[in-house]
Homo-oligomer: 401 residues x 2
Amino acid sequence: MTKEEVLQSLAIQTESKLVMVVIDGIGGLPVRGKTELEAAKTPNLDRFTPKSVCGLIDPISYGITPGSGPSHLALFGYDPFQYEIGRGVMEALGIDIPLMKDDLTARGNFATIDAEGIIVDRRAGRIPTEKNREICQFLGNEIKEVEGVRIAIYPGKEHRFVVVFKGEGLREDLTDADPQKDGYKAKGTVGLSGEAQRTAQIVNLYLKKAAEILKSFHPANTILLRGFSKIPDIPTLSERFKLRPAAIATYPMYRGLARLVGMEILKTGETIEQEVETLKKYFDQFDFFYIHFKKPDMAGEDGNFKMKIKAIEEIDRILPAIFKLNPDVLVVTGDHSTPTHLKSHSWHPNPILLHSKYVRPDGIRRFTERLCQKGQLGRFPAMDIIPLMLANGLKLKKFGA
Amino acid sequence: MTKEEVLQSLAIQTESKLVMVVIDGIGGLPVRGKTELEAAKTPNLDRFTPKSVCGLIDPISYGITPGSGPSHLALFGYDPFQYEIGRGVMEALGIDIPLMKDDLTARGNFATIDAEGIIVDRRAGRIPTEKNREICQFLGNEIKEVEGVRIAIYPGKEHRFVVVFKGEGLREDLTDADPQKDGYKAKGTVGLSGEAQRTAQIVNLYLKKAAEILKSFHPANTILLRGFSKIPDIPTLSERFKLRPAAIATYPMYRGLARLVGMEILKTGETIEQEVETLKKYFDQFDFFYIHFKKPDMAGEDGNFKMKIKAIEEIDRILPAIFKLNPDVLVVTGDHSTPTHLKSHSWHPNPILLHSKYVRPDGIRRFTERLCQKGQLGRFPAMDIIPLMLANGLKLKKFGA
């Protein structure tokens, strides 16, 4: 049996409650000797950490910087090399489009072509989002289906949108219908297998019709599609671990990722206080909660060291409300590092703490990258967090006799 | 996708410079309480280590003692279980024979047989190397080809040599033509597949011809061949990671291993000072440098604790010249341990330090087995060093969206 199969065979349902707090982009790099976590004042974490067991997690593997898709799959216990989430699907999740199993999704750009069909601006001068909405609505009404395949178009920001093709037997093995550079003719997509030919034909017919309709919409007088993908065929957390899981997140992409693995998405507000209120409200109804705090990542991407510290301190202030719920197993960690120094996601490991009745507290004084590294959990892949949480919740039987 | 495929898809070429310093056999075992590294005076490493991130690497896997082949493949980022380097090939690399893709290589011994063809001395009384050279030259002139397959013979030390068969469709699935013990008749090789029958025939014809020619060369009156192998079909570092890699090593075997993965071999001298001069000279022309220091391993194999300390101290004195080049990423580590206590390679992990702008320095005071173990890199397989170096050189894109 594979490890995955063994874990599935051992999982049992119990009443114990597991809570995974994911602080987006929590890990950092030192600026004047201190990382964001080291510089932040986190009295509540400081009290809780020494009673927990600590470690460092690698989101994927040494040196690999993950996007939110792979890093969350790993946090949810899935092998990120095995399950891939296409670009079109990620974009759709990011604007809260509910995708079904057979839907084919693509990211789109409005673009400008000249009289010869040469792309002169791949982003159509970054048209305003408001304009984008109008064109999408118009296009959506004009083209509702092609050869029996229903088509929906959803506006994103500026020139970006998502197209969803709904029909049977659609394939995702298609080349991008987007040269990704100005100065080229927009070509259609090409099917990469015999089975994909029909899908390519439908997409290309759609592209042609859309370009005809948009002729008078200069600068947004054509569309480019790329990242054709379907949601991966992925077993749910309930199938794998007999969990009744729920997700709390203020951003659509994280709700979408949670939905992919079968979590119930709980309606919540815009603030971390509202997220914790949601956790309290539904605490009796599920046995696994994923709660996502976004701000530290945003501050990291902005390269704003002080703002990241502030975001961490805000989260620290809200944590006692979660501690008070007294879940059987509580994990606090991150999906990846976002050092302000790099202004981007990075490959660096994140601190993790796990609290339950069944740990050997290692007395780590603070929840920081360099102190947690000395903890009992050692350095390990994020994929192993869920098994560890299940074990601490006594949700895993013995393996073998 | 596999991890290997993912890494390949993420690699980009940049201007950043990576330097991997490999100190052969660096790790040791305590003698009167201190390992060689602990007993050595290494002021330069001591200054550099606290500014780096440290850890322990397992050359292959817990408990496995590697030869130089597998341990270097792992250091170069290749799975040593997936890519095997045959004995014949290793021997050829050790005497600087440039091997081509289709060449079939074997290690050979001159041996003594009696009138009945029974081997009475597998090593022909360890004939002097000078004698070996003469016989090889004579044999090489007498037999230049067999059935259209060109054959070259290269002398090694004492009774040892290497034979290279050059022709199309040669196979390596052949049994050793060497009973490995005295008192047996020298038998030819046997092809282990249908396709290998022709190769076996050619090798056996060669063995017969060679024995006839050597009749009067007592005690070297026959040859034995073993370790038939071809160079593995291995993607280069440039194909995998878009690197422009170069190697600096005073010993042929390490140059040969580097050549196998597509490194440019830089002409250098016999001393570590000359090696570092070579690094300086070519520093602008490549973006990855492997520089190999041999002496600590030799002292280890000799069981000479003091000499190993001396070798380490010599290397420490040369290191500032490398630090001064200020590579974007610098790694100092070893290919395996060679404890003087064991007089051989061993399975013990080696210390590693990595220095770049993007580390969380862990303040480890000295570059020793026991102190580096407390570092942020944790304990990890040598195979993951290259991905980590690439990441620190900003040579890997983000995985997924």
